[in-house]
Subunit: 323 residues, 2 copies
């Protein structure tokens, strides 16, 4: 009997990663290609199919593809569509799951990248035995995936879990979405960079970050500076953690999750990030929830989360059908 595999695809603004994953989360083969989104979705899919076929070459004699899972910005799980993706420019609505399913002649499922990360944690990561948890991805923006009663929350329209855009301050920082004071303008790689620049203006402490222009500063540089003891970087993590912790207390009041799982490069700052989140989350928490909610780092960090998450979506749907 051939080994059943799923194809997990993560489509990002710059790169698309994919891999073939078994039911235990072992990635048997993986590869990536530039997305080149501006060439349009048809050209992208032709290149994708070609690259996938080459990667599957060595597996095809003893493995069988059962389903495809796709993680993509603004992916709509219900409709299998990608709707106005901010970094892809594929136009209003692309029926991506349908296109891919037609090509491979197997079921294809799709959701946004943060939701896929949450499914990855549930199937292969730290949330294996949890029914209620929230995954927060701290990248260029802040993404989130919410699991309730063991199921991902998609909401009425398929787009639930946009915690990057809860409001911190109605008169706060301008957000790319057009609003002001969204959480991701504070708590994300971009958010902490903005905080570093605010603090370089407000404070007078020397900092290695004062030699780096805005357009070159990355979350990793800030993380490394903090770990080296840079006072501005450390203060920026404290500020980020305070705001994120406060807002997570609101999330707990909604959902009472068993754990909140943080994911992304900024988590490498360890206690510089986690201590202020924990402190301010607990300080702002309604009494009944105090000291109950675990604050965890991803169980998939270092692994190919993009592939594991989208594969987990495909496996979940296959498993559901067998039930």
């Amino acid at each position: 009997m051939k080994i059943p595999l799923t194809l997990g695809i993560d489509i990002g603004g710059t790169f698309t990663k994919f891999g073939f994953t078994d039911h235990d989360g072992n990635i048997l083969e993986e590869a990536s290609l530039p997305t080149n989104a501006k060439d349009g979705v048809d050209a992208f899919l032709l290149r994708l199919y070609d690259t996938v076929a080459k990667a599957f070459e060595g597996l095809k004699d003893h493995a069988e593809l059962k389903a495809v899972g796709i993680g993509v910005p603004n992916g709509n799980y219900y409709k299998g569509t990608v709707e106005n993706p901010p970094n892809l420019g594929w136009g209003k609505i692309t029926p991506l799951a349908e296109l891919v399913s037609k090509h491979y002649q197997i079921p294809t499922f799709l959701t946004n990248d943060a939701n896929a990360a949450a499914l990855g944690e549930k199937k292969f990561g730290v949330a294996k035995n949890m029914k209620d948890f929230v995954v927060i991805t701290l990248g260029t923006g802040l993404g989130s995936g919410i699991v309730v009663n063991g199921e991902l929350v998609y909401g009425a329209d398929g787009f639930a879990g946009e915690l990057g855009h809860v409001n911190v301050n109605p008169n706060g920082r301008v957000c790319g979405c057009g609003k002001k004071g969204c959480l991701e303008t504070y708590a994300s790689a971009t958010g902490i960079k903005r905080t570093v620049f605010k603090f370089m203006a407000d404070k007078i402490e020397p900092s290695e970050l004062r030699d780096i222009p805005y357009n070159q500063l990355t979350g990793n540089m800030i993380t490394e500076a903090a770990l080296r003891g840079d006072p501005v970087a450390i203060a920026a993590f404290e500020y980020t953690g305070r705001i994120l912790g406060m807002k997570l207390a609101d999330t707990v009041a909604h959902l009472s999750p068993e754990a909140i799982i943080l994911f992304g490069g900024l988590t490498k700052a360890g206690a510089y990030l986690f201590d202020p989140i924990h402190k301010h989350m607990e300080e702002n928490m309604f009494g009944i929830f105090k000291n109950k909610v675990k604050l965890l780092t991803s169980g998939l960090e270092g692994k190919n989360v993009a592939v594991l998450g989208s594969s987990a979506l495909a496996w979940q749907e296959l498993d559901r059908k067998k039930m």
Copy 2:
């Protein structure tokens, strides 16, 4: 065959209401008794059983009790317990579902009152065909019940859905829970009363409410004053609606519900309450959710919601077993 009925019980700080309800939500008989919580739970239950028995007298020949549903402050659905109920003073943990189930020898289920209201809307009210919605009860405090994928959200500990205690302003009004700036200190009958008193201090417009002491002013009086055109009352509704609308935009970012259903006496103010909620919810909403979420009034207003909600819990559990 005897008609199958559930016994729905709503335990409040002052009164306990109950009724016998059929599968379509018809209440065949109902009654109430003073809770007299200070006498303890044992004394309360003896009186309850006695009153219930009398009310059932006329039904017992042609009806059969199948299950009991209880709505009670700080009710824990998972454990069937009441934990530190603020207005009951029954001590730390009361195994109420177990006690009642032993007495009647039928399954007994329990949750908090706002969750019961959400189940009532789902089974008998405006949310009959909805899978994802949020019920907000505006009473002395602000309660909430969240439904996702057709199921009530209980969270890891059974207490999810405490939107009364999301944070509006970390330096805001002192809340009975010990925190500052909780939503219910603004958006509830008590909250709008506090706003009226703030506005009577800040403004100079004449108002009929200036003749009423704090301890006598009720949400109904403010509602009626607004409907008569009182400028302070109208401004207080505007302020209440603005804050509630802003925070509901955060709730939508979490859950993307099909509808938010408002319940309670303040909703009688109509457009004075709903217009500012709607305006500020939409203004603060992440783009993808704009103009999608319905803002509705309860479909159970005027009916015995307390009984219908707790009965709905019992029916839901019975229906689940049959599946």
